[in-house]
Amino acid sequence: MIAILKKELLSQFRSKRSIVLLILIILLSLIAGKYSLSLSISQGNSSSGSSPLFTVIFSIYIILMPLISAIMFGGIVAREVKDQSLRYLIPIISRRKILFSKYLAMNIYFIVLFFISTSFILLLRQSYIFPLKLFAISIFIILYLNAITLCCSINLSSERSVFLSGVVLFIFFPGITLWNLIKPNIINKTLNFVLPSTYLDGKASLLIIIVLTIFIIWLSFYNFSKREI
């Protein structure tokens, strides 16, 4: 299991897109850290460490994440099913372990990115109050969004369609928020519970996103156990 986890993480961190993403994130963090010094946005509730600056930054990341997760990990199962390289693993390790290692790798990858970005901003601002609460909530959102990507990668036949579903979610999530603002009704109020931003803003219990995540993971494992390769 650790071998698969290691391989997925290494090949991801070494990939060209990952390097591009890392550069973008560091740039964004630099800009945020630097310019917020002169803006009122940097002052906030410093006792809990959740300054408005971090709220803004994390919101941006969470909005982008369905897209980035699909770009980075869309092929995590779909590609290996398609080129049949999974056939080397299936006889020697259980499907459950394969999937679990891959899912873990996805989550570690994003948690590390969030951590890098946060550290950069803190360093630049010479502030050492870590936005713990925001970071913790973000971890649940990362688990949730990666579960969706994983589920798509199992059920769709190509990396490309997983990417497209990422694009759809990337538009769908803010779309619901907008719809809610313009004309609130029972449908979009219910749909609010699937939006990551709802949880980042603390507008709903984390328990709901945890249940959603568990359901999606269960669905992924179930479908993968039935998938012919």
Binding site: A3, D83, Y88, P91, I92
Partner: protein, 130 residues
């Protein structure tokens, strides 16, 4: 020892395997012969766990397979691939490298596998089994 009993398998409406029984003994070479599309790969796929039979049972211990397809983890070098598989199988890497010499693939271990010729890929895949 591998025992498969009453294996039936259809792809969609097409019945590919109809009540197949196979017994394979350890240490014996057994061949499955049949024309193209007869279902040889399908039965091997079921034994390996790639496909699921509609009915029937397979009793087996560990099975090593050299997949049919011309597929390896293309972006890994031979060495990375080998280490990866060995780590999962919990086999010592040094022992494997000595064996790689016998197979004549030792030199190629540092190359990316997408540069391998078909024969090289097959040799690596076969090597991985042992």
């Amino acid at each position: 020892m591998l025992i498969a009993r009453n294996i039936k398998k259809s792809f969609g409406k097409k019945r590919v395997l109809d009540d197949i029984d196979i017994t394979l003994e350890n240490g014996k070479i057994t061949t499955i012969i049949g024309e193209n599309g007869a279902g040889k790969s399908t039965i091997i796929g079921i034994i390996s766990g790639f496909f699921f039979q509609d009915t029937g049972t397979v009793q087996k211990s560990t099975v090593s397979v050299m997949p049919d397809a011309d597929s390896l983890f293309e972006d890994m070098t031979g060495k990375q691939f080998l280490k990866y598989i060995l780590e999962i199988k919990k086999v010592d890497y040094k022992k494997a490298v000595t064996m790689a010499e016998t197979f004549g693939i030792k030199k190629a271990l540092n190359k990316k596998m997408c540069e391998y010729s078909f024969g090289m890929k097959k040799r690596s895949a076969l090597f991985k089994l042992i």
